[in-house]
């Protein structure tokens, strides 16, 4: 800054002699003036770093802030929540509570007696049930069919959902970026080969294949039941990496055509440098956006698997399996009278997925303001 100031004063000295100028001095002067201007523009313009710009644009949108807050809440709820519960109430997701309460059942039946008269048959049975406790101060959302605390199970369910979705998306991004990067950079037969593999994987029907895989996994006795879900997510990665690969490849192909790549080429830099220094960083914004949108999709997948009973195994909690309690094929009772068992889990799923799409949308607009005029 001080250097520039000196320059500035020099410039003013020069200015006084400007008038009997020769063309050569003129050119020189223009250059000096440019420097001076750089200083002045720095003062006049609001300059801002690209990263800050993105952050600013991101936070400008109200929806992305809402999304971020929800994600933060769900994270705290599912990671900090169990710790607090463990410390204060002292139990986890598998403790069974037997809370006895009386359940009254009144059955009524009309029938015709042997004397031809009509009779009404009343049967009032009072039984003591220990599960399905209604919400109370001890168990905020009550207990489920097995006497497990629903509120606490929601926390553990969130923990598994979030862990799995981040893990899966991470693997998916790595696999997709590597293969898509290779295809897009080298082109030719390499590209052809990889893209055909992508085509084949993209044509695999996702859910049915996962169902088959879950059957395969169950049969392998060496894998403990709790770990099965992680294997499932590994397979999910294998099925869903194709989107990322296509995205990276497409990006690289279009970037390769651009001038700055030609400029890099003319400087004669190494291939690896070209890929990692110049090409991959340019695809990062797109990757971040697709990752944040993909997170929600994986949560949906995971909950569906758990709903079908092939995800997180009982007694461990999962949002999907909590909703499965309401499956009317097993009786309408829970669906009708115990919304406290399945509704909160569903709301949490919707909230989380929605939050990820808000954030993803906000990020996309922040990275590429042209998209949203």
């Amino acid at each position: 800054m001080t250097d520039n100031n000196i320059n500035l004063t020099n410039q003013h000295d020069l200015n006084s002699e400007v008038n009997n100028k020769t063309p050569v001095v003129q050119g020189e002067m223009a250059r000096l003036e440019e420097e001076e201007l750089a200083v002045q523009t720095a003062k006049n313009f609001r300059s801002i770093s690209p990263a800050r710009m993105v952050a600013k644009r991101f936070f400008r949108s109200r929806l992305s802030i809402v999304g971020l807050c929800i994600i933060l809440f769900v994270f705290l709820f599912s990671f900090l929540g169990p710790v607090i519960v463990d410390a204060t109430w002292g139990y986890g997701q598998t403790e069974v509570f037997k809370i006895p309460r009386q359940s009254q059942l009144l059955t009524k039946a009309n029938f015709e007696g042997a004397d031809g008269r009509k009779y009404v048959y009343y049967d009032r049975s009072i039984s003591t049930v220990t599960t399905k406790a209604p919400p109370s101060a001890d168990h905020w959302l009550g207990t489920d069919t097995n006497g497990l605390d629903i509120f606490v199970r929601l926390m553990y369910g969130g923990r598994i959902s979030l862990t799995i979705s981040f893990l899966t998306i991470f693997l998916e991004m790595i696999l997709g970026t590597i293969l898509g990067g290779i295809a897009g950079y080298y082109g030719g037969w390499v590209d052809q080969l990889i893209m055909r593999i992508v085509d084949i994987f993209a044509c695999l029907p996702g859910m049915p294949i996962l169902l088959i895989l879950s059957a395969v996994l169950t049969s392998i006795e060496e894998i403990p039941a709790e770990h099965r879900i992680y294997y499932m997510m590994g397979f999910l990665t294998l099925i869903s990496w194709t989107g990322t690969a296509r995205l990276v490849r497409g990006q690289l192909l279009s970037l390769r055509e651009q001038e700055f790549m030609l400029a890099a080429e003319t400087t004669g830099i190494k291939t690896s440098r070209k890929i990692f220094k110049h090409l991959i960083p340019n695809t990062v914004p797109q990757l971040i956006v697709s990752a944040s949108l993909g997170l929600g999709q994986i949560i949906l997948y995971e909950s569906t698997l758990s709903y079908l009973g092939i995800g997180v195994p009982f007694p461990n909690a999962a949002w999907g399996s909590m909703i499965a309690l309401a499956d009317p094929s097993k009786g309408q009772e829970i669906l009708a009278y115990y919304p406290n068992m399945w509704l909160p889990a569903g709301i949490l799923i919707v909230m989380t997925v929605l939050a990820f799409s808000f954030v993803g949308d906000g990020l996309r607009d922040a990275f590429d303001p042209r998209q949203k005029k």
């Binding site: 055909r196 084949i200 695999l204 294949i209 088959i212 569906t304 499965a324 919304p339 399945w342 919707v350």
Partner: protein, 333 residues
């Protein structure tokens, strides 16, 4: 044009070969298959020897689980599949193709109606949202469409059932026919109406699940078009705003819409596994779910292959439609 189609078809065949091999290997890895399940009791009681079971398995090409054995089995399966024989379903006791043929229609019917409703609602709403960008309407549509895409199918189904079937009692909870009502066989209308009554909630579920995506897609494309130079030209010409939007802008938004939507058409035949299962609709989706859970290998194999074929056809249609609706695409490669 012919050359282009041939090229795409060739590519489709390659993809299908790869997909079928993958699916075959996966299904063969399924352990507790139907034969084991069914014969377990017989073996226990000594009615069958394990050798008998093996013989039975050999009969269906399921015995040899080594790689060459699987490949041999695949070759056999594939040559049969080429002749239209997808195998014999253990669970349903009929050829797989026959089961698919019988149960696909109800699935198709549900999906088709959901698809039509989805188009009718989503496209005009998406366009209106784009034209009135930043308005309250736009905001509502955007949030609603995101919410619709965030709903898990089974949760949405549970919500609808709880509200409309249990609380209001407007629609039946599950199944396709009312068990307590007995219709005279000649009462076709009564039977159809009863079925339609049962299908309302599944259709609503499917529609809501897919409507958000299409709405957003329409809006994004329309926004892009509305900001383009030729829309400004159309306005500069003095065209009324209605013509500008309904003719100039929509005709351009139409291109991506038609290609995507036509690509979805074959998918209407694939059945909705979760939704059909939750509502106990005897469609192809719920049949496949049962077969998978019970280890009916031929059916699982056949159904997955059927799905893959539908997907590939979808891609083909989508590519072709692109060439049809966009005058800029010239197929002369």
């Amino acid at each position: 044009m012919v050359k282009y189609i041939l090229k795409r078809l060739g590519l489709a065949v390659i993809i299908l070969l790869g997909v079928s091999l993958l699916i075959y290997m996966l299904t063969m890895a399924m352990p507790a298959d139907y034969i084991d399940n069914q014969t377990a009791a017989a073996v226990q009681s000594g009615q069958m020897t394990p050798e008998d079971v093996l013989r039975l398995k050999e009969l269906y090409g399921l015995a040899d689980k080594s790689l060459p054995g699987i490949l041999k089995g695949y070759a056999l399966w594939f040559s049969n599949a080429l002749q239209g024989d997808l195998g014999f379903s253990f669970l349903y006791g009929r050829p797989v193709t026959q089961v698919i043929k019988e149960y696909v229609w109800i699935s198709f019917f549900i999906s088709l109606i959901a698809y039509v409703i989805e188009i009718i609602i989503a496209i005009p709403m998406g366009i209106r949202a784009a034209v009135n960008q930043y308005s309250g309407y736009d905001y509502t549509v955007s949030v609603f469409s995101m919410m619709a895409t965030a709903l898990p199918s089974f949760f949405l189904a549970a919500l609808l059932m709880n509200f409309f079937s249990i609380n209001l009692g407007w629609f039946p909870l599950q199944g396709l026919t009312t068990a307590t009502k007995i219709f005279h066989p000649s009462d076709t209308w009564g039977i159809l109406l009863d079925k339609a009554w049962h299908l309302v909630l599944p259709i609503v579920t499917l529609t809501l699940l897919s409507i958000g995506g299409l709405m957003r897609y329409t809006r994004t494309n329309m926004l892009e078009v509305m900001n383009s130079d030729y829309i400004r030209t159309a306005r500069a010409k003095g065209l009324p705003e209605k013509t500008v939007i309904n003719k100039h802008a929509f005709r351009n938004t139409f291109i991506p819409l038609v290609t995507t939507l036509s690509g979805l058409l074959p998918g209407l035949f694939s059945g909705a596994m979760i939704t059909e299962t939750v509502f106990s609709i005897p469609g192809i989706g719920s049949m496949a779910m049962r077969a998978t859970q019970q280890g009916d290998i031929p059916f699982v194999m056949g159904y997955n292959m059927y799905l893959a074929i539908l997907t590939v056809i979808g891609y083909l249609i989508s590519d072709l439609m692109y060439a049809v609706v966009d005058p800029r695409v010239q197929i002369s490669k």
